[in-house]
Symmetry: C2
Subunit: 425 residues, 2 copies
């Protein structure tokens, strides 16, 4: 029996009852012979309440102080959780990110972990304690200031600690039963995935699946830490995310051809109209965007109209960055040379993810057929080796996800396999 890292999100520890329920589950793992390290988020809406307070005091709170404020949330939940465990007769000690050795860079509000030195955690474990660690936070290497890792950072804390402590598994407890083949709020027949590879999970996370953040999965893949995503409310087995299929009973879970359908309605589309079709134009556009520190997602350049020598370039980006991107392009209009800008935030993205695409020709064709049968118009297309994404009208997204989910035999009451017929991808 080795070391297990468990992570509990805010909804699992929303109140005193939740904390006591979680404490029991942790004690079970300890009684099963594991060394247990627990990473915990702030209770329920604590973080949002603290953000509200900050906004009342200052419209633009400074990063360093904002991080100091937000980390109070985990301090509360971790101390209460340690108390609840001790109340069950087991030894527990809580540690801040700094005490747990979570060393980060100095980028406040979205720091990156650069090292984990869990000496105090190791000592606590060796002395028979359950170690409770504040998620989402660390301490900067140079200035010794408190930092936070950004939303979802507690998952990354858990995986990073699991890697540093050479854990058997990192269990991410949440309020859903695992990773599903689609968002169950949109697709009622979505199925829980028993196992998914790091690669497919990364693509799902990048395509709008909210269960695990991209950064956390990336970290787990780099250090090859299996993740088990499961519910803190039920005792059910959840979804394993790992490099190799896990055993279930006495047989291996098979690699699915298609892992799932993700969607995302948080993006907007910018179209740069009338760009001269000559070398360096795209570079100028995306240099302006990158200088404004905006991350973009898809990029599509239309075929140039021979008559005018002009082309259009479209890209998608988070809606929250839309204003900034338009401003950055307008400022550089002279240098870049384009006619006009179009901004559209009524779009949605549907992505089909699965390593099986590589070896199963026809997936792309089936995907487009399903969309076409559902009457969904496609505006942009982008692909990776194991993913196809399309941009559609936002209003069409739910219908499109359901159509694709069903067409690929992912619906839970359907056992039919999809036959991939066509040639090429």
């Amino acid at each position: 029996m080795g070391l297990v890292v468990q992570k509990y999100g805010g909804s699992s520890v929303a109140d005193a009852e939740g904390i006591k329920r979680v404490a029991k589950r942790i004690v079970e793992a300890k009684q099963n012979g594991h060394q247990v390290v627990v990473v915990v988020s702030a209770m329920g809406d604590t973080t949002d309440e603290l953000i509200d307070l900050a906004e009342k005091v200052s419209p633009m709170p400074a990063g360093r102080e904002f991080d100091m404020l937000l980390t109070a949330g985990e301090r509360i939940s971790m101390a209460l959780l340690a108390m609840a465990i001790k109340n069950l007769g087991h030894e527990a000690q809580s540690f801040t990110g700094s005490q747990a050795g979570v060393i980060t860079d100095s980028v406040h509000n979205k720091a990156r972990i650069i090292d984990v030195t869990p000496g105090r955690i190791r000592t606590a474990l060796d002395e028979g304690n359950i170690a409770i660690v504040a998620g989402f936070q660390g301490v900067s290497q140079d200035k010794k200031d408190i930092t936070t890792l950004g939303r979802g950072g507690s998952d990354t804390t858990a995986v990073a600690l699991a890697a540093a402590l050479d854990a058997e598994v990192c269990e991410i407890y949440t309020d859903v039963d695992g990773v599903f083949t689609a968002d169950p709020r949109v697709v009622k027949k979505a199925k829980k995935i028993d196992w998914i590879s790091f690669e497919d999970m990364l693509e799902l996370a990048a395509s709008g699946s909210k269960v695990l953040l991209h950064r956390c999965v990336e970290y787990a893949r780099r250090y090859n830490i299996p993740i088990h995503v499961r519910s803190s409310f039920s005792g059910l087995r959840g979804t394993w995310v790992s490099s190799e299929p896990i055993e279930q009973g006495d047989q291996k879970v098979e690699q699915a051809i298609i892992s799932g359908v993700a969607h995302d309605t948080s993006e907007a589309k910018v179209t740069v109209v009338g760009v001269p079709d000559k070398p360096g134009e795209a570079a100028a556009i995306f240099r302006a965007i990158s200088d404004a520190e905006i991350n973009i997602d898809m990029i599509v350049q239309n075929v140039s109209a021979a008559s005018t020598g002009l082309t259009d370039i479209s890209f998608t980006l988070p809606k929250t960055e839309g204003r900034k991107a338009i401003d950055a392009l307008e400022r550089n209009k002279g240098g870049i040379g384009f006619e006009s800008l179009r901004y559209d935030d009524q779009i949605g993205k549907i992505s089909l993810v699965g390593a099986g695409m590589k070896t199963n020709p026809g997936v792309t064709a089936s995907f487009f057929e399903a969309l076409s049968d559902a009457g969904v118009n496609i505006e942009l297309i982008s692909t990776s080796e194991i993913r196809i994404s399309v941009v559609t009208r936002a209003d069409d997204v739910s219908e499109a996800v359901r159509a694709v989910h069903s067409a690929f035999g992912l619906d839970s009451d359907s056992d039919e396999a999809v036959v991939y017929g066509g040639t090429g991808r």
Copy 2:
């Protein structure tokens, strides 16, 4: 213009508006040319809310985790205060007790400061920042665990930092205008004291005055740090507590004969009845009490009745310790040898404090005359060099305080001096 330490209590920073008001006051001190270090308590009822949460999770929360929990409160207020100051265009940085170098022993929930190493605070000041420090908390020297200093600990943090930084003054901002000659809720004519010596303030604090805690005044006296107690709501001059009378205008504030009247209804009286009047009996009683870690206040032994050779011993202690004391004595009844125990929690204590007692005979007589005129019966008496205390019925306390306050000419609309006639104290 030197360095000023300001401390703001929870009622001064109870909400976003309070934090903004306090921020303005801090900035004024900075604009007046001071280096400013601010110690801040948790907002309003935050600490009580956290205690409630802890009780829901565990009936007997462990000290280490309880401290970790409570310190979240100051983390929130200090970060918000730093943001509010920066929003006014001034540089501010917040520091936890640990970051500020507040080193304590390892007694959780009531740790004592054993050293202050404010290197980071000094650097922040030298760089032109206002430094905001979490009150009430420190880090233990041996285990590097987070500790708290007990209720009122923020005042001690402020004085300790003032001493370590060699501050000109430690300003304690609160929701009253200063230290009064009596509790203004009981005595409407109570006057604000302009200046009071450390010694008199120590006696007042020990006798029930809530404005400053005994430990904080003791610390200030040891390092000779003047304290200025004042309101964060008005801009008025408050009460100076220092070794030498301060100047006011161009004349020195004179040492008052009597500083004030304090009262305390938080104590109970235990009477050990029928104790053999022989050496070692009192020692046995108070060893039993001290082994149970109970602090007691007054002790009185009655004259032994010659006929029986038995005597009664009474002492007072916090009501909260009453149960524990009775249990400890009952457990040791055989060894000590007494007839019975009486427990009375309907008592009150009135204390008259003033260094002038030493040189003004008759203070004691006037004190008892005032009580007698008010028809107040005295149950116990205890004195120090500059204090007389009596225990009465709890119901008589308010009337007794008013009578004594008036008799010593402390009422605000009275200018008459009290003539001390009698002989002896």
